[in-house]
C-alpha cells in the first residue's frame, strides 16, 4: 500500500513535468485531469488507511469531491470556455521547452536541498513525497510564469492548488473537513471568475495573450 502511494507521488510529479512540456490547450486540460485523478487515487488510499486506523471517513469524502470537481467539472468547464477561443497551439514561451524542463528539474533539486534539513525529524519516505509535492507547487508557479496565454495561468494556478493539497494531506494526515470544503469552494469561485475574465479579455482584445493587457486600447 505504502509503495503504491510512493509511486503515485512520483507520477504526480511526472505529470507536472509533462504539463510543462505540452503545447496544446487541450493537452493542458487533459494533463490536469490526469493529475487530479492521480491525486484522487492518493486521497482514496490514504482515506482507506485512515478509515481502518482511526475510523475517520472525511478523506474519502474529499476523494469523491476531487473526483467530481477536479476530474469532471473543472476540466469540462475549461473545455467549454476554450471551445470559443481560437488559440489552439501556444508558440511563444519565455524560453524553449527543453530549457523550461531543465529549470524545472533544478527546482526539484532546490526543493530537495530545502527539505533535506527535515530528515532528522521526519522519516525518509515522507520526505520523498514531500519533495515531490512541494516541487509540484514550484513547477505550477513556474508554469504560470512561462506561459503567456491566460489558460496557462489558470492551469498553473490549479496545479499549485493540487500540489498544496498533496502537501497538506501528507503533512497533516488530512486537514479538518471544513477546511478542505472551504478550499474547494474557493477554487470553484476562482475558476468561474477566471473563466468569465478570459471570456471578457477575448471579447475586448480578440486574443487571450495576457501580454497585450499591457497596451492601452483606444
Amino acid at each position: 500500500m505504502l509503495e503504491f502511494v510512493k509511486i503515485l507521488s512520483i507520477l504526480i510529479l511526472l505529470s507536472a513535468f509533462v504539463l510543462m512540456g505540452n503545447k496544446r490547450i487541450n493537452s493542458y486540460i487533459e494533463t490536469f485531469r490526469a493529475q487530479s485523478l492521480l491525486i484522487a487515487l492518493m486521497a482514496g488510499i490514504n482515506g482507506i488507511i485512515m478509515l481502518k486506523t482511526e475510523g475517520r471517513f472525511d478523506l474519502l469524502a474529499v476523494c469523491v469531491l476531487i473526483l467530481v470537481l477536479k476530474v469532471i467539472y473543472i476540466p469540462g468547464l475549461l473545455h467549454r470556455t476554450y471551445a470559443h477561443v481560437k488559440y489552439e497551439v501556444e508558440k511563444d514561451f519565455i524560453l524553449n521547452i527543453p530549457i523550461l524542463i531543465s529549470v524545472c528539474s533544478a527546482l526539484v533539486v532546490f526543493t530537495y536541498f530545502c527539505l533535506r534539513t527535515l530528515s532528522s525529524i521526519i522519516p525518509n519516505s515522507i520526505i520523498l513525497q514531500l519533495v515531490n509535492s512541494v516541487s509540484v507547487i514550484w513547477i505550477g508557479l513556474f508554469f504560470m510564469i512561462s506561459r503567456k496565454k491566460a489558460i496557462g495561468q489558470i492551469i498553473g494556478f490549479l496545479v499549485i492548488e493540487n500540489g498544496l493539497f498533496v502537501t497538506t494531506m501528507l503533512g497533516t494526515e488530512g486537514m479538518p473537513f471544513i477546511v478542505d470544503l472551504g478550499l474547494f469552494i474557493d477554487l470553484i469561485t476562482a475558476i468561474l471568475i477566471m473563466g468569465i475574465l478570459v471570456f471578457r479579455i477575448n471579447d475586448q482584445f480578440d486574443s487571450i495573450d495576457t501580454d497585450q493587457l499591457n497596451k492601452l486600447k483606444g
Partner: protein
C-alpha cells in the same frame, strides 16, 4: 574456458536473434495494415543475398567509406559481449562496464557518420547531422539512467547490475526502477531509429535519418551496416528485458539446463518486447525533427527523477 563458452554463446545468440527482431517488427506492422507481409525470418535471406553480392564503391570516396561497415559491425558485436543474454552464464568476470558499452557503440556511430559524409552526397551529410543531434540529445538520459542502476547495485558492471535487480524483488513495483524503465524505453526507441524519432521503412528525404546515412552502401557493405544496426537494437532490448524484467531468479538450479531455460525465456521476452515496440510504432506518428529535443528532454527528466528519488531515499533501495 568459462569465458570462451560465454563469448561463444553470447555471439551465437545475439547474431541469431538480431534479424528476427526486425522481421517480427515488420510482420506486426504489416498485419496492422491488413497486409500479409514478409515472414519474420525474411531478414536472414536478405542478409544472405546481400553478403553474396559485390559492393559498389564511389571512386571519390576514401578508405573510411570501405572500412566503416566493418567497424560498425565489429563495435556492435563488441558491445554485445558486454550485455549478458543470460545472467546464469555471466557468473565469470567480464572486464568492462556500461560506460565502455555506450562508447563502443558511439565509436561505431562516429564512423557511420564520417562515412556518410565521405562520399559528399547531400543525403549523407543531412543524415549525419541529424544523427549527431539525436545521439547527443539522447546520450545524457541513457548515461543517467544506467548510473542510477549502477548506484543502486554499487557496481558499474552490467552482470552485477542484473544480479542486484534480481535480488530486489519485482523491479517494476519500485518507483526508481519505474522511472528508469520509462526513460530506457524512450532511449531504445530513439537509439534504434523507431517511429517517433525516425521511420526505418521510408526513403523520404525529409524524414530519414539512419537510412540517409547508409544510402550509398550496397552489397556486402550494406549487409554489414544493417546487421550492425540490428545487433545494436538487440543490445538495447537486452538491456531492457534483462534488467527490468528479470526471469533468471525463478530458475533455482544451475547447469546446462538452467542456461538453456534462461535463454529460451530471454528469446520469449525479446519477442514480446519487439511486438510491443511495433505496437508503439503503429500507435504514434513521427515527430517533426525539432520536436525530438522535447522527447529527449522527457527521457532525461524520467532518468533524472529516478536518480533524485534514489538520493532522497539515501540509497534505501540498495
Amino acid at each position: 574456458m568459462n569465458n570462451v563458452i560465454y563469448i561463444l554463446v553470447q555471439i551465437v545468440v545475439i547474431l541469431a536473434v538480431a534479424p528476427l527482431v526486425n522481421g517480427i517488427n515488420r510482420k506486426v506492422k504489416a498485419l496492422s495494415q491488413k497486409r500479409k507481409g514478409a515472414p519474420p525470418w525474411q531478414m536472414y535471406f536478405d542478409l544472405y543475398k546481400l553478403l553474396k553480392k559485390n559492393a559498389v564503391v564511389s571512386d571519390v570516396s576514401s578508405w573510411i567509406f570501405k572500412a566503416a561497415p566493418y567497424i560498425v559491425f565489429a563495435t556492435a558485436l563488441a558491445g554485445a559481449l558486454l550485455v549478458p543474454v543470460s545472467s546464469k552464464l555471466a557468473g565469470s568476470q567480464i572486464p568492462g562496464d556500461f560506460i565502455l558499452l555506450i562508447y563502443t557503440l558511439v565509436l561505431g556511430r562516429f564512423f557511420m557518420m564520417a562515412a556518410a559524409l565521405d562520399t559528399g552526397s547531400t543525403f549523407g551529410g543531412m543524415g549525419s547531422s541529424r544523427e549527431a543531434m539525436i545521439s547527443s540529445l539522447i546520450e545524457p538520459s541513457i548515461l543517467v539512467s544506467l548510473f542510477t542502476l549502477g548506484l543502486i547495485a554499487r557496481s558499474f558492471s552490467l552482470p552485477e547490475i542484473m544480479m542486484s535487480v534480481q535480488n530486489n524483488g519485482i523491479p517494476l513495483s519500485n518507483p526508481v526502477y519505474i522511472m528508469v524503465f520509462l526513460a530506457m524505453v524512450i532511449v531504445l526507441i530513439a537509439e534504434t531509429c523507431r517511429i517517433p524519432v525516425d521511420d526505418p521503412s521510408t526513403h523520404l528525404e525529409l524524414t530519414m535519418i539512419h537510412e540517409a546515412m547508409i544510402l550509398e552502401y550496397s552489397g556486402r557493405h550494406l549487409a554489414f551496416m544493417e546487421y550492425g544496426a540490428a545487433v545494436k537494437q538487440l543490445i538495447f532490448m537486452t538491456l531492457l528485458v534483462n534488467i527490468f524484467l528479470p526471469t533468471d531468479q525463478l530458475i533455482n538450479f544451475s547447469g546446462l539446463l538452467a542456461v538453456l531455460l534462461s535463454l529460451i525465456l530471454y528469446v520469449i521476452k525479446i519477442i514480446i518486447v519487439a511486438i510491443v515496440i511495433a505496437m508503439i510504432e503503429i500507435k504514434t506518428v513521427k515527430l517533426k525533427l525539432f520536436s525530438i529535443p522535447n522527447l529527449a528532454a522527457l527521457a532525461f527528466i524520467l532518468a533524472f527523477i529516478g536518480v533524485l528519488q534514489y538520493f532522497i531515499l539515501g540509497g534505501g533501495y540498495a
